[in-house]
């Protein structure tokens, strides 16, 4: 992706030396980050080290602290303790400077619904003092990638949910930030828009932008270069999706049955069964030793008169890993 600084030629003040691709520099570093709301420890002693070109995912249930972390990284919420450095800027000491290096897209991006797509982009561009030439070049490119090129005259309020979200992303990117913070950017967005959205993210990563996003979609989590599994304000695990899967104790079996609930009832608590998780029409069962347990499961289900159509070993998804890891924690 040809970024703004290629066209600019003159207003190249904020992003001078970012094109190093081999030894990716650390762009986001948080140390000992904590934030409480009253007695509630929303974020507890978080450590993050994220390098340029990463797509870093924050995953966790509602209330885990994802939004709170994002807001602190963006400099709009001051932490109780800890320090944050984004693109070489101390966010807590100099939030105004940090704003030029990063972009934060809140869970619900605020668009001016009475303004057109082009006017929204213009407005955010002006707020960041983006030159006219830069703004036009960058917005054309982003609009095309987002599939919004034909909608520039449309009022933002008349866009679909997915289009609004993509417009939000364009506005957030108009000043060519080095670090992009996205809080659940694709929640409630249709699959086509989501694909385009991710297309833009991949392009950004190519150009060395650091992306931190929180997501509730496990398929999106799998696309991240690294994931932090958050629970109750703490990072429990942080690694690549592949390595996280490898750390999952046990082996995963998928069982298809007409009555998954009864199946879960029948298997819960049986020896060798480490976990049972409903996944729509199928049930994911984690076992210690599949060779030994599959026949036992068949027998037990026959006993309980639960018919099954399929039982097979599968590669775990990130959701399985997440549930498994948190389960294991509870036991120990």
């Amino acid at each position: 992706m040809a970024t703004g600084e290629v066209m600019a030629g003159k207003s190249d003040n904020t992003n001078v030396d970012v094109k190093s691709t081999d030894a990716a520099p650390v762009t986001v570093r948080a140390h000992g980050l904590s934030k409480s709301f009253g007695a509630l420890k929303a974020v507890n002693n978080i450590e993050l080290t994220i390098t340029a070109g990463e797509i870093f995912g924050l995953v966790g249930p509602d209330g885990a602290g994802k939004t709170t972390i994002m807001r602190m990284l963006a400099g709009v919420l001051s932490p109780d303790a800890g320090n944050i450095e984004v693109d070489g800027v101390d966010v807590i000491a100099d939030p105004e400077q940090a704003k030029l290096h990063l972009s934060y897209m809140p869970q619900r991006f605020g668009l001016y619904e009475d303004l057109t797509v082009a006017e929204n982009i213009f407005f955010y561009g002006e707020l960041f003092s983006v030159s006219r030439a830069d703004r036009l070049a960058r917005s054309q490119e982003l609009l095309k990638a987002a599939g919004l090129a034909d909608f520039q005259k449309r009022l933002a309020g008349q866009l679909s949910g997915g289009m609004k979200q993509k417009l939000g992303l364009i506005c957030a990117l108009i000043h060519t930030p080095r670090v992009l913070l996205l809080d659940e950017p694709t929640t409630g967005v249709d699959p086509v828009s989501r694909r385009e959205f991710w297309g833009i993210l991949y392009n950004l990563r190519e150009s060395g932008v650091t992306i931190i996003l929180s997501t509730a979609y496990m398929d999106e989590a799998e696309r991240c270069s690294r994931l932090a599994l958050l629970h109750a304000g703490e990072i429990r695990y942080c690694d690549t999706p592949a390595r996280l899967k490898a750390t999952m104790p046990g082996v995963l079996l998928a069982i298809i049955s007409a009555n998954p609930r009864a199946l879960r009832e029948a298997l819960t608590g049986q020896t060798g069964i480490l976990g049972v998780l409903l996944m729509g029409d199928r049930v994911h069962v984690r076992v210690d030793d599949p060779a030994q347990r599959i026949p036992e499961i068949r027998a037990s289900l026959a006993n309980h008169h639960v018919d099954i159509t399929l039982i097979e070993q599968v590669v775990p998804g990130i959701e399985d890993v997440f549930v498994a890891l948190l389960d294991t924690e509870k036991v120990t």
Partner: protein, 375 residues
Amino acid sequence: MFDRLYVMLMKEFLELKRDRWAMFRLIVPMIIQMLVFGYAATFTVYHVKTAILDLDHSQASRSLISHFVATSHFDVVDVATTQSAITRDIDHDEAVIAIVIHAGFNQDLENGRSAPLQVIVDGTNSNTALIALGYISQIVTQFSASQVSTLPFRGKPSISLQGISLQYQPWFNEGLNDRWFFIPGVIGTLTLMQVVSLTAFAIVREREVGTLEQIMVSPIRPYEFILGKTIPFFLIGLGDIALVVAFGILWFHIPFVGNPWIMLLGASLFLLAALGMGLLLSTFSQTQQQAFALNFFFVNPFFILSGFAFPIAAMPKLLQWFTVINPLRYFLVVIRAVFLKGVGLAVLWPDMLALTLLALVMLTISVLRFRKSLD
């Protein structure tokens, strides 16, 4: 900074332009309320049903009665001859007021003694009764003035009678005069309501929709945002005031004898205070609905405790203290004085000073609170 402020203002006016109903919402309610207040909110009372008991049957008593018959404020429904007839008129709601001219009325006047006149009022509607009493005293004053060369009335020297009648003249003798008093008040009150609610809603909407958090992660400074949000409403407020002032002059024929620049100065200070109030209100609300409810509770006391209709001097001490921080109170003084009296800064400086201080205090508090509310 001017770039960001400029684009902020551009955005505000663009939004306003896109909002088809904006002009309607800004102008129509003002005009309607002007009309409602102009026609309905009046202290003038016409056709008060009056019974008169004439026990004197003299030249003077008949002359006095003719004064009452002549004015449209009173309808003389009964000229009775017995006390019981009068009592019946009042009891049966046939008359609201009864005037008793005692025997010897003429005699007393001729002898230069105070001639007592008894007035009985139905106090059920104290407002009407009080107003009617005011008219009665005028009529009697006029009457006595007409007799004054030879016949001092109520034993007062003629000079003081002349003085009293001169004082009353500009305020009550012409039936339209309390509209002159009301319309300037309406202008101030409506502007306050309009500007406070518009400012509060506009800011709360940005909070509610999420644009506030969004632009706070841009390099925009809080004061740029605040200026961008308030300058348009300052201009709208000035436009509103100009509109209703013109309307009051052209439609209701309220005289505008003062200096328009003094009015502009007073209006500007008043608007700054109102903007501060709107900004302050916005910091107490997360949603437009909350702002709406708050606005109601917030603005109403300012309206009632402004001297708009209820005299401040008649309020309990505690409420009188509250009126000290009420910008509307001072603006009403300014606007009425400029409209009707044409006085300048030499007289109005204390009110202007109060408005300046209030504007400063309100804006400071609200800006500080607003900045805190961004966290």
